[in-house]
Amino acid sequence: MANETATADPSSTTTETLEKLVVRFAGDSGDGMQLAGNRFTDASALFGNDLATLPNFPAEIRAPAGTLPGVSSFQVQIADFDILTAGDQPDCLVAMNPAALMTNLEDLRQGGTLIVNSDAFDERNLAKAGYESDPLDDDSLKGYRVIKVPMDDLTKRAVKDTGVKGRNVLRSKNFFALGLMAWLFHRPTEPTIDWIEKKFGKQEEVAAANIAAFRAGYNFGVTTEATKNTFEVKPAALKPGTYTNVNGNTALAWGLIAASQKSGLPLFYGTYPITPASDILHELSHHKNFGVRTFQAEDEIAAIGAAIGAAFAGNLAVTGSSGPGIALKSEAISLAFMLELPLIVINVQRGGPSTGLPTKPEQSDLLFSLYGRHGESPLPVLAIATPSEAFLMAIEAARIAVKYMTPVILLSDNSVANASEPWLLPDLDSIPEIDVEYAKHPNGPDGTFLPYMRNVDTFARPWAIPGTAGLEHRVGGLEKDALSGDVSYDASNHQLMTDTRAWKVANIANDIPQLEIDGEEDAEILVLGWGSTFGSIRAAARRSRLEGHKVATLHLRYLNPLPNNLGDLLRSYDKILIPELNTGQLLKVIRAEFLIDVTGLNKVAAEPFKVSEITEKILEMVQ
């Protein structure tokens, strides 16, 4: 066996230093590629690289093994500078079987490194992937640096004394691949070994097998000189401070907990499981010691219903879902709007319509968020641009909800939710408190309580929670008198209430940050975006500047109301490009609001924008 007989001197390999590196782990969905990718990422994060990730998994939990639909992959870009995306093209691809090779090879950079598990390239797997001949034997891979490793066999040998048996033996294969990658890219090994010990501590045999496979992978690299060149990426010169690596769903959950602490309101999260929002529930359900109450309802209508009840009762109430579930909540969102109760509605968007592409990113619920309700019911709509930003955006959504007594829609999407990035931990004390005051005393004549008598500045109505003596009152979906809240069918009152509710939300524009242009003020072109396209847009602007162009970018976190200075900013550019992962939704809004022409770059291709796609469009427009 190679690793038993090899005697090569490891020092004879050379190390090349890279500024950035994109690697992709691809395999069958049962091969543990997400785990391998995440471990590689965490080790790089702890090492000090900047990074961005792009997980990509099939909608089926277990599509038939070895088939093309069953392929799951995880891409990460690591760099010694601040990067913005997970990269367009991998420099290194790990393919655990022919199907993974078939579906991922076209993305690999020419001359890139390809690590394949040669044991998986048998006739059956080749046929399942649609290969007529074995690509490892013909010259179809000659444009790449191919490292063939019999991973099944080597893993079996590595774990043979650990006590794992049967199907569990090959489960450690992903750690073998990870070990080899750690060697090839000079990743520290301790974080992974520590993690395995912590994670599988109770199942000693599994822990031992995973560690053995990981070490064997690493040593395979050392002893066989699997390749002459290894690579390293030095730590990034990130802003000083303490960092953690976080994905969007986790940061969002933590932000909700922070909002609960900053407001002094207990957190209630009502939801029904749906990809890609479920991890918010999973995360929150662990943190009951923060006073968090999670409620897994029977459906999304019940989930928001319970949240509305919790809001009425005085909680920081949140409901979360993805497109299909948000559709079910629509009637209840209008109720919350009518009741004027604070509520956060999280929509982690995915490919639609209907069940669509449940595990893929898309930004196609913008118009639905802005307009997808019956009656006149404008709502504040916020959108998260990067994974770590979800923390502060959750707090901001809570601030607006309770200050203005309104539901707030908070948009995330699959690539924010599951992607991770280093997060410079904020100074929690410097995050402002969220002032909340429940109504305590009657506010009307003769000790009466007028539940719709508004604050003169915010137009918010008082939050009078059950249990407060003297404030007993009824609210409901029927139109209400502008002061008493009693049912009113009066025509002019309905006009007044409709206008007031709209005005209240529009007025929030005076309470949000003004937009600031990134890049040259006198740029030839402005690229406008919202949500998870942030990184690709900024990176494309950088690249275009390297080509000698002046490019400005703007990113919207507030989609309703729009920031006050947006119109003026837009009017100061001749050319405006709006890249969106939909068929042109912000584009419609901008045209309708400002009567100006803008160009769209639109795609709904189950993946984020490649930086090159936006760069090309920018260059085409400025040429």
Partner: protein
């Protein structure tokens, strides 16, 4: 607990009650107001949440906290109140369409979870508010605006449904009999967990006399089977009795059976089979029909379990520490002048 002395008037609002004259909803409102006034519990601790329908206008007329919500969703909304505020007494007001048609899903799930809610289902066997279509409790063959040839929808028996949904408290009463209603309300109020009460409610406009068999002066003598805990189940002046035969509750002539064979009502029986059998004595108020408490058993309520988990988590892990939480995935520190490539 503070108690105050109230009269029914303290629970009335200044809103004009808009039900049709003669509607059974008036009587139920009076019973509920009288009942809560008598409890002496501070008014602000009551929350009434309803869906949509004639019945669901109810909260506007109760001088407590209240919400007239959307069609079918009151149990879900009330769940959010009850689970976060164990200090409150939370009531759901719903109709047969509201609870059993559009809101059927929420109803069965609050019952199985045993959320601490008192659910009053005003069953008039018709859609009142939308002016007279058949409902999920209307009888087969019923001619309504939307079923001119007679309804072909097989109806629910709400009590059977609630028992099947793992309810811990299930009862039936009727609008006209205020003292019966109030006795049931009291037992429901004292029950920890979800209490489901079907209230036969006459809609004199679209379904008049639907309950005549159990409310009519003559008829009720023969048809009201009053369930009383610990007592043999007899009715019709004692001339008829219930026995269990082949797993079914069966009506027999009392004089023809051994008195020891007569079923003694035990609402606390852990197994719901006999309560269910009793509910099958009639599929609706068309002949001898049991009224009273079918089932009243103890099971921890959802809210007490949830709040216990929160308390336990705090005890075991200490009050949540946000600084620690955001560092829980491991951290690294970049020093002030970290040279690129350090």
């Amino acid at each position: 607990m503070t108690t105050r002395s109230y009269t029914r008037a303290d629970f009335q609002t200044d809103q004009e009650v808009r039900w049709c004259p003669g509607c059974g909803d008036y009587t139920i409102l009076a019973s509920v107001q009288q009942f809560v006034a008598a409890l002496g519990r501070p008014r602000e601790e009551f929350v009434f949440i309803s869906g949509i329908g004639c019945a669901s206008r109810f909260p506007y007329y109760m001088n407590t906290f209240g919400m007239h919500s959307i069609h079918g969703r009151a149990p879900a909304i009330a769940t959010g109140v009850a689970t976060t505020r164990p200090d409150l007494s939370v009531w759901v007001i719903t109709g047969d369409g509201d609870a059993l048609s559009i809101g059927g899903n929420h109803l069965i799930h609050v019952l199985r979870r045993n959320v601490n809610l008192k659910i009053l289902l005003f069953n008039n066997q018709i859609y009142g508010l939308t002016k007279g279509q058949y409902s999920p409790t209307s009888e087969i063959g019923k001619k309504t605006k939307s079923s001119p040839f007679g309804s072909i929808d097989y109806p629910f028996n709400p009590v059977s449904l609630a028992l099947g949904a793992e309810a811990t408290f299930v009862a039936r009463t009727l609008d006209m009999d205020r003292s019966h209603t109030q006795a049931i309300l009291k037992a429901a109020y004292e029950h920890e967990g979800a209490a489901f009460i079907e209230i036969y409610q006459n809609c004199n406009v679209f379904n008049d006399k639907a309950f005549i068999q159990v409310t009519g002066k003559e008829e009720r003598i023969h048809n009201r089977i009053d369930l009383q805990h610990g007592k043999p189940i007899v009715f019709d002046g004692g001339s008829k009795a219930i026995v269990m035969r082949d797993g079914q509750a069966t009506i027999v002539e009392s004089s023809l059976v051994d008195p020891n064979a007569i079923l003694v009502h035990d609402e606390t029986r852990p197994d719901p089979a006999i309560a269910f059998a009793l509910s099958r004595l009639s599929h609706g108020p068309y002949g001898p029909t049991p009224l009273g408490i079918f089932r009243n058993v103890e099971r921890p309520s959802y809210d007490s379990e949830l709040n216990a988990q929160v308390a336990e988590a705090k005890e075991q892990l200490g009050e949540g520490d946000l600084e620690k939480l955001i560092r829980s995935h491991g951290t690294w520190t970049v020093e002030a002048e970290s040279p690129n490539g350090g």
